[in-house]
């Protein structure tokens, strides 16, 4: 506890390019950009595969393999190959981390929609794209959001390793603290990252409550 007071009570930690607000912004930049890129790749792909059923096995297998990729190893390798001029080397492993959960959950969500529901939608005269947009996606939304949430939390948590190769973000407090045996800084950084992950978690709970149709989430009694 004293360490936390030392860290958060130190006014020098709250301003300037090495202050908490600046580090937090860097962290959000890495995490946000990676998540956005991962969504651009994984959402359309997951929707398409779930809807058409094409290439499903290949995608699920490669997504599982990608889950095994150690982010730290990938990061140091890419930085050694490309240098640290930009934030691209950080984005690649983080995107690789975020794509599998989004892709697999989107695909499973769409595929898991009751076939009767899908047939009913076609029967009512909706076309392929309309069925996807108006029936399949709303029904699959809880799973799609789950995938996004898992991806977001992992990216926020893992963006800390960017500091190891000399980039910014909240990981700086952890890595620098470890290197200089500055325990308050290390623990303070760890607590900040954990808090950020919790906020992301709560944010997604909120989005889920607002975005998922009451009929799907069973908040309304349906007979």
């Amino acid at each position: 506890m004293n360490w936390l007071i030392d860290f958060f009570g130190d006014l020098a930690n709250w301003s300037g390019p090495e202050g908490i607000p600046a580090r937090l912004l860097e962290h959000l930049e890495f995490a946000g950009l990676s998540l956005l890129l991962a969504m651009l790749i994984a959402l359309p792909l997951g929707l398409w595969i779930g809807h058409t059923g094409r290439g499903a096995l290949l995608v699920v297998l490669s997504a599982n393999a990608a889950r095994a990729l150690p982010t730290l190893g990938l990061l140091v390798l890419i930085v050694l190959l490309m240098g640290v001029g930009t934030i691209v080397p950080v984005l690649i492993p983080l995107v690789a981390l975020a794509v599998p959960p989004i892709l697999v959950n989107t695909y499973e969500g769409i595929r898991g929609v009751d076939p009767d529901l899908r047939d009913a939608a076609y029967g009512m005269g909706l076309r392929g794209g309309q069925v996807l947009g108006r029936v399949l996606v709303p029904v699959a939304l809880p799973l799609i959001l789950l995938g996004l949430r898992l991806a977001a939390i992992q990216v926020v948590a893992t963006a800390t390793v960017a500091a190891y190769v000399g980039l910014g973000g909240l990981g700086r407090y952890i890595i620098d603290g470890l290197a200089t045996k500055n325990y308050p800084s290390t623990i303070g950084g760890a607590v900040l990252v954990a808090l950020l992950a919790l906020i992301v978690q709560l944010g997604f709970d909120l989005v889920q409550r607002i975005a998922v149709s009451p009929g799907v989430s069973r908040r309304q009694d349906i007979r």
């Binding site: 393999a65 889950r67 150690p70 800390t160 190891y164 954990a194 992950a197």
Partner: protein, 220 residues
């Protein structure tokens, strides 16, 4: 940047005993949490499936635990379990495994259709035998799906422990980075992915052995 091959095979040959040691350390630190996690998740999952009011808060707590960054938890644990010890890495990994496995056990058990449960009761199964002979076998696919995710991420996460001095194969990433030398990093990545792939394959095989009816139905 220096022109250097991505992999120098002679380095691997010379350092193989050390790599093997790291590999063993990695396997232990990744798999012990999974086994312990499964042993804890089974009774907790059973309780959660029986008493739903108990399950909801458990899921909340597990979600919170899952969202804690591994590096952060390693560091917070250092004063308790020591720097660069196996326990510092294995304790958080056990909690991550629990966060995946408890919901998997509960979902698996609730996936048992009611008429199946009632048939078992009607056939005179005692509650314990019904659980062991009917409900758990039917729950196997869902539990194993969770187990696969937990195992693969555990194997991958151990390497983060290298940042606090105990990361199995993750040490190769630190070593390669500090010496600006590709080979250890490539070796580390390849071995981690191969290890995860092997574990995943074994679990898929286990699932085939444990659920022979699924294959019979597929063939029919």
């Amino acid at each position: 940047m220096v022109e250097e091959p991505l992999v120098r095979w002679d380095w691997i040959g010379r350092n193989w005993p050390a790599i093997q040691g790291l590999l063993e350390d990695h396997v232990v630190m990744a798999l012990v949490p999974i086994v312990v996690g499964l042993l804890i998740a089974l009774p907790l999952g059973l309780a959660g499936a029986r008493w739903r009011w108990l399950y909801r808060p458990t899921v909340g707590v597990m979600n919170v635990i899952y969202s804690l960054p591994s590096l952060a938890v390693f560091i917070v644990l250092i004063p308790i379990t020591g720097l660069a010890t196996r326990a510092t890495v294995m304790v958080p990994l056990t909690f991550y495994a629990l966060a995946v496995l408890i919901p998997a056990v509960v979902d698996g058990l609730t996936s048992v259709p009611d008429h199946v449960r009632q048939s078992a009761v009607a056939m005179g199964f005692t509650p314990l035998r019904r659980l062991l002979r009917v409900e758990l076998p039917i729950a196997v696919p869902v539990v194993l799906a969770g187990l696969r995710v937990a195992t693969v991420s555990s194997i991958s996460l151990v390497s983060v422990g290298a940042l606090i001095g105990r990361g199995g194969l993750g040490y190769l990433f630190i070593d390669g980075w500090q010496r600006q030398f590709y080979t250890p990093i490539v070796v580390g990545i390849v071995l981690v992915v191969a290890l995860a792939g092997l574990a995943d394959l074994l679990l898929v095989l286990a699932q085939r052995l444990l659920t022979p009816w699924a294959r019979a139905r597929g063939a029919a």
